[in-house]
Every structure is written in structure tokens, then in C-alpha cells.
Amino acid sequence: MSRKRRLGRPARSDGARTRQKVLEAAQRQLSTVGYAATTLRSIAEEVGITSLYHYFPSKSELVTTLLNEAAEYTFSRIEHVAELDAPIVDKLVMLLRAEEAIFNERPELAAFSTRLLGDAMRYTELSAGLRVTRRTMNDFYARLLSENGATGLQEGVDQQGLIELFAGITHGMASLAATSTVRHSAAIDRMAELFHDTLINRQLRA
């Protein structure tokens, strides 16, 4: 039974582990040195293998895999919010809290998403990948609002405008999370108060 290990492609479990290492190294490099300076070679070097070709034939395939993985993970944590029977304001605050949980669990995602957005302005192949994520996110928000959303909004609110504003706020918050997840959590407390209209004392105003 003690078969000698054949040379060549690693056994399946090894392969999966190496693939995971490749993804982690790639994510780290993309978040720190950026898209241009991250190469298949620099990743292979960090992981300690000669070539990435067996795992990812191209950089764009590797980046797409990372973007999809990050999007899937994020969606798995927020999907249920769209189905809830709750006022829209509660659902949005739940999304902020879910984001907080995501960054606490995987802090590297904050830097990854913030920095890639800066790079997407320069590298078209990257912005194509992000566009898909953004579209999926837009669909998600549309569903969030369609369930019973409009009932929780005041008259005259433009739903698309609200979605874009919220997307912007989450981006601003993600970039804070890339600096400090503790400060991110505290800022979300203030944001939640603002959303629930308990932050600003309106008694003073005529």
C-alpha cells in the first residue's frame, strides 16, 4: 500500500491547498503593491512554486476568480437581508452591520476592494470584472427595495439615487475599514443613528 509518490502534478489535496495559497498571495499583493506590479511570477515566487500556469493561465483569470470569490462571500453574508419583511431603513442598517462582520472576519477584503477600485480606473480588464460585481450588487439593491422598500421611503425619494448613495457610503466606509476595523465599527454606530434619525437633535429647529 505504500505507493511511491509520483513526480509531476501534485496530488489533488495538495493542489487545492496550493491553489488557495496562490489566491491568498495574489490578494495580498493586489492590495499592497497594486494591479500593475502584481505578476504571475511575483505570486509564484511568494508561494514558492515555479509556475502558476497549472492553476491560473493568466493574470486576468486569477483576478476574476478573486473578485468572484469576494463577491460570493459577501453575498452569502447579506443575501438574507433582501428577503426580510422589515422597513427599508432597518434593512440598510443591517447591511452596514453585515459589512462590519465581513471586515471583522476577513479584514484583508477592505483593503482589497478599496485599492482595486482605484486601479480599476486605469486598467480596463479590471474595471470589466468590477462592473459585473457592481451589476449584481445593483440587482440586489433593487430587490431589497422592491420587497416592501417603497413603503419605508418618504414621498419623492428617487430609489436609484438612494442606491447609489448607499453604495458610495459603503465604499467610503470600506476605505475606513482598510485603515482600522475598530474605527469602522464605531463609525457604523454613528451611521446607524443617522439612519434611524436619532443622531441629530431636531427639537431646536423651528
Partner: protein
Amino acid sequence: MTSATRRPGRPADGNSEELREQILSVATKHLSTYGYAQATVKAIAEEVGITSGAVYHYYPSKQALIEVLSVRLITDAVTRLRRAAELQPDFVGRVNAIFDELDVLHREQPELAGFTLVLTSDVARYAELRIAYESCLSLYVDLCRWLIDEAVIAGELAPDIDRPSMVDMLHATITGIISTLSRVRPEHHGAIIDSAKRLFAGNLFVTP
């Protein structure tokens, strides 16, 4: 001299101020479009129509050039935001005036958003951007602090409010709006600003 092509190099003294401005404006464009690494002094000089040496005559290094232009760009922007806010009597009015002014600023200087994004994403990679980044950040933070101080004095925010998290929240909202304006088509900007104003004025959601 008339038939000779214009030699690149240091210009005559008369238009040096003008040239300095031109270098800054081309550098802003390059930095916000290509990022820090690809915004080279050589490429900037080429577009202005001078030699790299002439650029170095005005700015001793790329780092110095970027520091001057980022501090000036953000100082101008934040000064305008503050002026707009100062005309308003209360916290909500001031914040809303800032949102309106962000929209105007973005229309007049679309490169400002790209610049802000590049600065925040490149600072992690290039240590020499740190000073420019910190200076710009402190301008925004000062604006947020002023808004919060005034609101606490007026009783619009609780006296024991946690100020650091309040500053972070306002700052994240402002930078978030800047990034949104840069990626969404201009015809939607009005609706985005309207939602932001409603959020602070308390007439976005139906609350019990």
C-alpha cells in the same frame, strides 16, 4: 529663428508663473488618470512641451510636485466646501450645502474624484505619497471637526457624542459621495445628492 522648431528647455522668464501652472495642471491629469507610478515627470514634461530638466527647475522631485499639487487642489476644494457651509445657520444646512457644492465641484473639476481615489489607493504602495495624503486627509478632517464642534455648541449633536467616530462617519460619507459621483452618469447626480440631503434632514425614511 522663425523657421526653427521651438527648442524644449527652460522657458524665458516672462511666462514662468504660467508654466508652473501648466505643469501642475498636466500633472494633476496624469496622476488622476494613470496613478502615481505611471505619472512620470518625463511624460508630464512631454505634454507641456518642455524637458524633464525644466520641470525639475520648478519642482525638485516628483514627490515635491505631487505634494504641491495635491495640497493646492484639496485646499481649494475644501475651502469652497467650507465657504458654502458657512452661509448656513445650522448643522443640517451646512452638511447639505457641502453636498450641493460637491456636485458643483465635480462638474467643474471631474479630475478631483480620480485624484482622491488614486491618492487613497496609492498611498499604501508608495511611501513618498504619505505627506501629500496626510495633508489632504487633515484638510477634510478639519472640515468635519468644525461641523461637529458647531453642532455640539448649538445642541444639535449630543455634548458627549463620540467625536472621532463622528468625524470618521462624516468623512466616509463625503469621500463616498465623491467616488459615487465619479462612476455614475451625471444625469443621476441630482438624485444622489437629494438622497444624501434627505438623509441628514431626516426626510429620507419613514420613521415611527
